[in-house]
């Protein structure tokens, strides 16, 4: 009985200590998006692009070199001009996916929905480290590899060995790209 009491008290103390422990201050989503809006001087035209819901272009993986990016400096508090505020509010009203919290550029905002739709389990470190178009290209590459593997060997006729070599080469390039992004 006594032991249980002590445990209970210890638990209360531990719980209070945990509550009292200082949590690192995180800027709000508004601060992040307004920082992007201010830095890139985004206007209502950007909201029109969001409304148009442009389909992401299929990236040319052969020409794409995965590159890490400089982290965006988000202010702890943000106060913006009225027109910037309208654009920020517009973005927040139009885009509502968890990846927006890691967006660092207007392109990231535009691609965040498509990326989340393709893979909703990307870790925050990877989202912060790579541009969203690189991550989206990675997801598309994965899809392409699966697609090719699903149809592999279906080709017939005299051209089959030539096509197989080209496909093998393509798969290798795609897998190298995926490994470059995911394995780094």
């Amino acid at each position: 009985m006594r032991g249980r009491k002590v445990d209970f008290l210890t638990e209360i103390r531990r719980d209070r200590l945990r509550k009292r422990k200082r949590q690192p201050f995180q800027p709000t989503l508004f601060a992040r998006i307004s920082a992007i809006v201010r830095e890139h001087r985004l206007t209502e035209a950007f909201l029109a692009r969001l409304d148009a819901d442009e389909a992401p272009l299929r990236a040319d993986i052969d020409r794409m070199i995965p590159s890490e990016r400089e982290p965006l400096v988000v202010p702890l508090y943000s106060l913006v001009r009225e027109e910037e505020y309208r654009v920020t509010r517009g973005v927040l009203e139009r885009v509502s996916n968890p990846y927006l919290a890691c967006a660092q550029s207007p392109e990231d905002i535009l691609l965040s929905g498509a990326l989340f739709a393709r893979n909703s389990n990307l870790p925050p470190e990877r989202l912060s480290r790579w541009d969203f178009d690189t991550l989206l290209a990675c997801e598309l590459a994965k899809e392409e590899v699966q697609e090719i593997r699903a149809h592999r060997g279906t080709g017939t006729g005299p051209k089959r060995p030539i096509l197989s070599d080209a496909i093998r080469e393509r798969i290798e390039r795609l897998e190298a790209f995926i490994a470059g992004v995911e394995g780094a």
């Binding site: 508004f30 307004s34 508090y77 943000s78 106060l79 913006v80 001009r81 009225e82 910037e84 505020y85 309208r86």
Partner: protein
């Protein structure tokens, strides 16, 4: 200030106040919306009060009074204000000339005789201006150039001409209150307003100069040369009393030397305190006595120069007058001499180290034997012997 004046912001001027575009975050928007009684700030037109106004569909926040901007311009942009002042005075042909500040006669003819014996025989009657000047003449050697400057000083015609030229000087642009205006308009208006302020100040200075010239018109040439010499030099020290002029605003520091004195601690041991200058400064806005030199004493908080003396029952006067200066200096001197009570160990520090957990200042190096030759001969007085 630079950010504001050089910005591309649109500003609004209303009722003598400057309104800047309101910056938003969700909380500000909520506040503004509730104050407007609508959902978003761009919808309605009802005013939430004078703090936020809406002009041309945009919200503006009340910030500074325009007159404050002019008054504080010199503090905020010192270099620019000085440049404006110089160019403005050059344009109106105001050259630097020898002036007698109104405070100098007060110091010379009212404060100095209180602390310095200006007559051979003691008298209850206050020393006259002539007596003080006679005393100064006996103690100072005035260069010949100041005798020549006297004739120029008493001639008031050039000053009157200059004053006439300054009358009505300075452009008067009015800021429009009808709508938003660019920051460059505010900048142009502010520069003009600062120039007008410079001219106003200069006019007041010239008028004060005229008053002083009229006052000394009948003063003998040699005596006036002494006043001009001291006005130009800006400092004097005679028999432990002195003054210094410093800073761009020509503030005065008036001081009296304490000379060496001794204080007694709880056990009757003596401490010999060196000479220091107890002063009042016209810079600080109030005449509170302070010690000019690096000094330590139970009634001074630290061991550095320019410390105010701890005074419990003294309200520092703000107005500059001979009586106030004398009262403040006397209070400061009396506190250093007689303020420390060895039984109470009053002040910030006690002379003896007893009963203190942490001592910030030590006075042991001032300790002297009770039969010290200066004390025995009466050269140094134990000033708190009777407390």
């Amino acid at each position: 200030m630079d950010l504001l004046l050089d910005s591309d912001l649109d500003l609004v001027v209303k009722g003598g106040f400057l309104y800047l575009p309101l910056l938003f975050d969700p909380e500000v928007e909520r506040e503004v919306s509730s104050a407007y009684g609508r959902e978003t700030p761009e919808g309605g037109s009802a005013s939430p009060g004078p703090t936020v106004i809406e002009v041309s569909g945009r919200s503006y926040l009340k910030t500074l009074r325009l007159t404050s901007l002019i008054d504080l311009y010199g503090n905020l942009r010192h270099g620019s204000a000085e440049q404006l002042r110089k160019s403005c005075l050059e344009r109106y042909g105001v050259a630097p000339h020898l002036e007698v500040d109104g405070r100098l006669p007060v110091i010379l003819f009212e404060v100095l005789p209180h602390f310095v014996r200006t007559r051979k025989r003691p008298s209850r009657r206050a020393a006259t201006q002539g007596e003080v000047l006679g005393f100064l003449r006996s103690r100072l050697t005035v260069p010949g150039a100041y005798l020549e400057a006297v004739a120029r000083f008493v001639d008031t015609d050039p000053l009157r001409l200059l004053l006439r030229d300054l009358e009505g000087g300075g452009a008067r642009t009015v800021l429009s209150e009808n709508g938003p205006l660019p920051a460059r308009d505010l900048r142009a208006w502010l520069f003009e307003a600062v120039e007008r302020e410079v001219l106003r100040h200069e006019k007041a200075r010239l008028q004060e100069g005229l008053v002083q010239r009229e006052r000394f018109r009948k003063t003998p040439r040699e005596d006036l040369a002494i006043i001009l010499y001291l006005a130009d030099r800006g400092s004097l020290e005679i028999d432990g009393f002195g003054f210094l002029r410093h800073g761009e605003a020509d503030d005065y520091v008036i001081y009296r030397r304490t000379g060496a004195y001794a204080l007694r601690d709880y056990y009757g041991r003596l401490y010999l305190f060196p000479d220091c200058r107890v002063a009042v400064s016209t810079t600080r806005g109030r005449l509170h006595p302070l010690v000019l030199d690096r000094y330590k004493h139970p009634f001074l908080f630290g061991y550095e120069a320019g410390q105010e003396i701890c005074l419990r029952h003294f309200t520092a006067p703000k107005e500059f007058s001979a009586a106030n200066v004398i009262a403040a200096l006397e209070e400061g001197l009396a506190t250093l001499y007689y303020g420390y009570n060895p039984r109470l160990r009053n002040g910030y520090h006690s002379l003896d180290p007893a009963m203190q957990i942490r001592r910030s200042l030590e006075f042991t190096e001032y300790r002297i034997p009770s039969d010290h030759s200066d004390v025995v001969s009466g050269k140094v007085e134990v000033t708190n012997a009777r407390t």
